[in-house]
């Protein structure tokens, strides 16, 4: 009996020890947004099923970008999974800093082809190697207040309006005495802030960042027309202090009923249409982001995705988590536990076609249509040597985009003219591109 007990104990101990030996701890660096909060809440199910554990490192977006760039470029190995965007993924992948994920294509259960082709392309390098798996994707479209449009007799556009028509709508809706501003747009400086709106606006006016020889085009007539329009629009029909407002500030203003129109990320629609978090949930609808001389590149493209750094010491476990967190089963789990309105949008075709999703979020198909109408590989009227709608997928863009954003924000605040802002931007861009070797 004692021998049997001893044998049983030894077997149990060895099983526990071997399970412990295989269980791994992974560290995930991520931002603090609604979709990632849901993932953190559901991740214990994966931990329980696999015996592995997750350390979450949650950081503000700019801090996360700086922290992950620093770690991955120095081969630091602090993280096993990073939450990164469509801008970093192709650049880091081409540098060999990310683990290729092409083998997910061989996994029939995972069904990689179910993820929108456009999104996969945005997370691959020029040779088609996939480096990240998307959690959600977004473009920009116009939020508008149906009640204000009705009160002021403003016709809702049938298709895609022009920016001229959009300015007329903002002017007609502008009623600051009654606490309604005609339009709220991003003014806070930064390539991910005001330039996310300005980039597609310039595309619509026929502009581009660089010509085919990588010569900056910031002092062109198209840029001047676009930025003059932007400064006039926001100064005349926007809230006071608009040069300090970013996505969050405008989202708060819109949800609080202060804005008649807002061109911004489709990913905010779930929040704006939620009566528990928004005062305008029942009186908000959408139409496409406006065009002007062209409809190319008029809505931005962005995707937040999970990638594995090449420096990770637990690649297999990280891959297993990645597979779980971007699988059909995960989306199903979110739908069943958090509601189908909370399912990450713009990623899987099967999810977006699911009747439960369409019933809970009737605006979902508008978002998908908007996302699918974007082509980051052909974003402008004139040909360009780069990909990206609201950004240029080269490492130098971050610095250039931030500088141009500061100049345009200063023009909006009335600290300098549009001409001065664009002249300074052109000089800076020429210097940076020459330094980087694009211009001889």
């Amino acid at each position: 009996m004692n021998l049997r007990k001893t044998f049983a104990s030894a077997t149990a101990m060895s099983l526990i020890m071997s399970a412990g030996a295989f269980a791994e701890e992974i560290t995930i660096a991520t931002v603090n947004n609604a979709d990632m909060i849901v993932m953190q809440e559901l991740a214990p199910q994966w931990e329980e099923a696999t015996g592995n554990t997750i350390n979450w490192v949650v950081l503000e977006e700019n801090v996360l970008r700086q922290r992950t760039t620093q770690d991955i470029s120095t081969n630091g190995g602090s993280f096993d999974i990073m939450f990164i965007g469509a801008y970093e993924t192709p650049i880091w992948g081409a540098n060999g800093w990310l683990e290729p994920l092409n083998d997910f294509g061989d996994d029939a259960d995972y069904d990689l082809n179910d993820i929108f082709q456009l999104v996969r392309n945005g997370l691959s390098d020029s040779e088609g190697n996939l480096y990240a798996l998307p959690l959600y994707s977004e473009t920009s479209f116009t939020y508008y207040r149906t009640d204000v449009f009705e009160d002021k007799g403003i016709a809702v556009p049938e298709g895609q309006p022009t920016y001229e028509e959009f300015a007329a709508m903002a002017a007609a809706a502008h009623d600051p005495e009654n606490g309604i501003f005609g339009t709220c747009q991003r003014g806070k400086a930064g390539w991910g802030e005001n330039m996310a709106f300005v980039g597609p606006l310039v595309n619509a006016f026929g502009g581009r960042w660089f010509d085919m020889d990588w010569q900056p085009q910031l002092d062109s007539e198209e840029w001047n027309n676009a930025i003059t329009y932007y400064v006039d629009l926001v100064s005349n029909y926007g809230p006071p202090g608009a040069s300090l407002n970013g996505h969050n500030e405008n989202r708060a203003l819109f949800k609080d009923g202060k804005c008649a129109t807002w061109v911004d990320a489709t990913s905010a629609a779930t929040d704006v249409k939620n009566p528990d978090t928004s005062t305008v949930a029942d009186v908000t609808d959408f139409f496409k982001a406006p065009k002007q001389v062209t409809d190319k590149g008029t809505g931005w493209f962005w995707s937040w995705a999970l990638a594995i750094p090449a420096s990770s010491q637990s690649k297999d476990t990280a891959k297993d988590f990645l597979k779980w967190a971007t699988s059909k089963e995960y989306f199903e789990l979110v739908g069943e536990t958090k509601g189908w309105v909370a399912v990450p949008s713009g990623t899987r075709q099967s999810v977006e076609a699911d009747p439960r999703r369409l019933e809970a979020a009737p605006f979902a198909s508008t978002i998908v249509d908007a996302i699918l109408s974007v082509d980051p590989a052909d974003p402008t009227l004139e040909p360009v040597p780069y990909t990206g709608v609201q950004f240029v997928a080269i490492p130098e863009f971050q610095g250039i985009g931030n500088y141009v954003g500061q100049q345009i924000s200063a023009a909006l605040a009335g600290q300098q003219s549009v001409e001065e802002a664009l002249a300074n931007s052109q000089t800076f861009a020429v210097r940076e591109m020459t330094k980087a070797g694009y211009i001889k």
Partner: protein
Amino acid sequence: MARAVSTKQKSINTAIAGTLGFLMFFPILWILILSFKTEEDAIRAPLEVLFSSGWTLDSFGAVQARSDYFKHFSNSVIISVGSTVLGLLIAIPAAWSMAFVPSRHTKNILMWMLSTKMLPPVGVLVPIYLIFRDTGLLDSRTGLTIVLTLMNLPIIVWMLYTYFKEIPGEILEAARMDGASLREEVLYVLTPMAIPGMASTMLLNIILAWNEAFWTLNLTAAKAAPLTAFIASYSSPEGLFYAKLSAASIMAIAPILIMGWFSQKQLVRGLTFGAVK
């Protein structure tokens, strides 16, 4: 002869000081108010936030449920106290030698030490990151304690040097004539006289280390992250989490505020008076 101050003047001075004090405290007060609101109420206009919305502890509960506050708190305590103790162990002998047995290079050394504080930390981030990577100190409390010690060492040495300089050398000489060894001289003569100064140096250094956000964010990931990283995790560019961010901020600053409140007399005394006054 003391200048006579009228009652009216006193009232005006008190009102000005009170207003300035309130303005300085107002951001913390507002964070405190928002931490007791729901996310929906927290983004309303200020008057609505104050008068037409309810009070709740939900944000504190949500923050505690999502983040391991006590892990971050214990990291903060270990790093700030550890770096302060280590800094004092190095700085006391250094300040003693500079104050009582100065050489002709002492002034230059003091200025050089201070000049290291003039360098933007980001300038040495990559070399330090690489050293930490190669020595296995990334995301470790030991590594952070060392870095924060080195970062704050010039301030500790300067403060202690200033206090020690005010202690008359004759007192130490007398102790030596009475047969005190160097250790006894420092421990039993110098230290008791310099205690207010050492206490304020210690408190100030703990506060500096507690609030340090550049190195603590850049050199940690999950294991050694202190409360600064805890706050940063509630800042969001997409989505509004002002109430939770405020709750996290209050939870992070509360221990150091309480410590500062109880030790403010010593802190002010140490910072405004010399060692033997």
